[in-house]
C-alpha cells in the first residue's frame, strides 16, 4: 500500500512516499517561488528512489491550504490530476490539521503564519476542527495572543499524519480544491 503525500502550501515542498503507513521516502525542499518548477521533479525523484512506478500508488494525500495561494494551487492541481488519472482515492487535509495531529492536546488553537497575518483553527482532542478557519491580520493577532493559548510552532510528525489518515474521508478528485480562507479584494 503506497500513499503519496504532497504539501506545497508554504515556501517548502514536502513530498513523502508512505509504504504501509510508514514513511519510506521523504523529500523536503526549500523552494521559495519555484514550486512550479520543483514539485513534479521531486515527486519523480521520490518514485525513482523507491523504485516504484507511478501506477503502484494507491492513495494521494494533499495539504490543500490555507497558505500561499499559488503554492496550494500547484499541489492541489497535481494531486487531483494524479488521483483522477490513476483512479485512486484522494484525501485533502489542512495545513493546520497537520500541526494539530502532530502532538497530543486538549482543545487547542493552531496558528499557521503567512506574510501579513495568520490562519487560525480550533481543534478538539480528537483533532476535529471546531467551527471554521479564520484569517487574522498580524495587527489583530498581536492584540489577542497575550490573552489566549495559541500554538504556532509545532514540529510536524509525518508518522502521526498517516496513522490518523483513516479518520479522513476520501473525496471525488473533481471536488478537491484549495482552502483559501483569506478573502481577496473582489470577495469583500
Amino acid at each position: 500500500m503506497y500513499t503519496l503525500y504532497i504539501d506545497t502550501h508554504s515556501n517548502q515542498i514536502v513530498i513523502i512516499l508512505y509504504q504501509n503507513e510508514k514513511v519510506k521516502i521523504k523529500k523536503e525542499l526549500n523552494s521559495n517561488y519555484d514550486h512550479s518548477i520543483n514539485t513534479i521533479p521531486t515527486i519523480i525523484e521520490v518514485l525513482k528512489e523507491a523504485q516504484i512506478e507511478i501506477e503502484q500508488l494507491n492513495e494521494i494525500v494533499v495539504v490543500n491550504g490555507p497558505g500561499s495561494f499559488t503554492g496550494v494551487r500547484i499541489g492541489v492541481t497535481i494531486a487531483k490530476t494524479l488521483a483522477f488519472t490513476l483512479n485512486i482515492p484522494i484525501k485533502a487535509i489542512s495545513s493546520l490539521y497537520i500541526k494539530a495531529v502532530s502532538f497530543p492536546h486538549e482543545k487547542i488553537k493552531i496558528v499557521e503564519r503567512e506574510k501579513n497575518g495568520v490562519f487560525v483553527g480550533t481543534f478538539n482532542s480528537k483533532n476535529e476542527l471546531i467551527g471554521e478557519y479564520k484569517y487574522l491580520k498580524n495587527s489583530e493577532y498581536d492584540l489577542i495572543t497575550s490573552e489566549e493559548e495559541y500554538k504556532e510552532n509545532v514540529p510536524i510528525d509525518y508518522e502521526k499524519i498517516i496513522e490518523n489518515i483513516h479518520t479522513i474521508s476520501s473525496q471525488n478528485p473533481h471536488g478537491v480544491n484549495p482552502l483559501y480562507v483569506k478573502k481577496i479584494e473582489v470577495e469583500k
Binding site: 512550479s36 518548477i37 514539485t39 513534479i40 500547484i74 497535481i78 490530476t81 488519472t85 473533481h174 480544491n177
Partner: protein, 336 residues
C-alpha cells in the same frame, strides 16, 4: 507516415480549454470552458479568480475532452501546453496539469507560446503558404510578422503602446459598455457612421502601430462634448473609433504587401474574430491577389486546438520540454 495525436491544454487567461489534435490540423476533440460571465461581474478578468476557476475545473474539462473522443490517452503521442505569455497563476495550473499527465501517461511534453498558437490556428483544417504575412491582433498584441517557414518569425512591426484589443476595451469603458469590450464596441459600431474626426496615428513608412493617441482623443472628445452639454452619439463614436483603428492596420498591411513577396495573408489573435476587420482584410487580399486565411470563429479566441496545431512542428523536431518547465507571463514570439 504514422498519424500523430497531440493532447493540448490552454489556460493562459479565462478559458480552460483542451483538445486532441491529429497531425497538427484535424480536431478530434475540443472543449472550451469560459469564465467570461464570472469576470463580467468585475468588469474585467480578475487574475486570482481566473486561477481558482482553472484549478476547480481542470479535471472535469479533461474528463469531458477524453469522453468526446474515441482516441484514448494510450494513443496520444505528446502533451502540449501553453506556458507563456499570459496570466502567471492561470498558466501555472495548465502547466502543472500537463506535467502530471505527461508523468502518468509517460508522454513527451511540449511547451507552446500562446501567440504562436494564435498564428497556427490558421493551420487547423488548412495549410500555411509560405512566405506569409501574419497580422496578430489581440488584447496584448498587435504585430505584423513575416514567416518564411514553420517557426520562423520576423517581426516587421509592433504596437508602440496599447494593443488593439486593449484599446477596444478601454474605449468600451469610456462608452459605458460592458466587458468584454471589443465585441460590444463592434456591435454598437454596426448601428453608426464614422462621423467623428479622429487622428491618423503613425501615418509613416514603418510597420509599427499606435493606439493610445486614438484612445486619448476619444477621452478628450467625450469630455469636451459633456462640458458643452452635447449628446454623444455613441454608435457613431464606436464606428469612428473602429474605422480609425482598423484603418491603421490596413495601411500597414498594404505597405508590407507592397514591399514584400507573400503567398498568403493571415489573421490571428482574439481580435481576428471581428467581422469588420475580416471584411476589410478580405478586400486587401483580393486587391493583392493573395489568399486570406482567417481562423474559424471558435479558434480565434483562446483555445487548446490552436495549441495542438502549434505543437505539431515542435513534435516533428523533437523539441520537448523537461519536467522543470515553468510558466512565464511575458515571452516574445521570437524567443527560442
Amino acid at each position: 507516415m504514422k498519424d500523430v495525436y497531440i493532447f493540448a491544454i490552454e489556460s493562459s487567461c479565462d478559458e480552460t480549454s483542451m483538445a486532441i489534435v491529429k497531425n497538427g490540423k484535424e480536431i478530434e476533440s475540443f472543449t472550451v470552458l469560459t469564465q467570461m460571465d464570472t469576470h463580467a461581474k468585475f468588469g474585467g478578468v480578475v487574475p486570482e479568480v481566473a486561477s481558482r476557476m482553472h484549478t476547480e475545473n481542470i479535471t472535469m474539462v479533461f474528463q469531458e475532452t477524453i469522453a468526446k473522443s474515441s482516441i484514448s490517452m494510450d494513443r496520444i503521442d505528446a502533451i502540449a501546453v501553453t506556458y507563456a505569455p499570459g496570466l502567471l497563476g492561470s498558466l501555472l495550473v495548465g502547466v502543472e496539469f500537463a506535467k502530471t499527465l505527461a508523468l502518468v501517461y509517460k508522454k513527451p511534453l511540449i511547451a507552446v507560446n500562446h501567440m504562436i498558437g494564435h498564428i497556427y490556428a490558421n493551420r487547423i483544417d488548412n495549410d500555411l503558404k509560405f512566405p506569409l504575412l501574419a497580422l496578430v491582433v489581440s488584447g496584448g498584441h498587435t504585430d505584423l510578422i513575416k514567416m518564411n517557414k514553420d517557426y520562423d518569425f520576423q517581426i516587421l512591426g509592433s504596437t508602440l503602446d496599447d494593443a488593439i484589443g486593449e484599446a477596444f476595451d478601454k474605449v468600451a469603458r469610456i462608452l459605458g459598455l460592458q466587458y468584454p469590450g471589443g465585441p460590444n464596441v463592434e456591435r454598437l459600431a454596426l448601428q453608426g457612421q464614422p462621423t467623428y474626426d479622429l487622428p491618423k496615428p503613425l501615418n509613416d513608412s514603418s510597420y509599427n502601430f499606435s493606439f493610445s493617441g486614438l484612445k486619448s482623443s476619444i477621452i478628450n472628445l467625450v469630455h469636451n462634448e459633456q462640458q458643452r452639454h452635447h449628446e454623444i452619439r455613441k454608435s457613431d463614436l464606436a464606428c469612428s473609433f473602429q474605422t480609425a483603428a482598423v484603418d491603421q492596420l490596413k495601411r500597414k498591411v498594404k505597405l508590407a504587401l507592397k514591399n514584400g513577396e507573400y503567398q498568403e495573408l493571415i489573421l490571428a489573435g482574439g481580435v481576428s474574430a471581428s467581422r469588420y476587420l475580416r471584411h476589410e482584410m478580405e478586400e486587401i487580399a483580393i486587391n493583392h491577389h493573395i489568399p486570406l486565411s482567417v481562423p474559424d470563429f471558435k479558434y480565434c479566441t483562446d483555445n487548446a486546438a490552436m495549441i495542438g496545431a502549434a505543437a505539431y512542428p515542435l513534435f516533428l523536431n523533437h523539441q520537448f520540454a523537461d519536467f522543470n518547465l515553468n510558466a512565464q507571463s511575458n515571452l516574445p514570439i521570437t524567443s527560442k
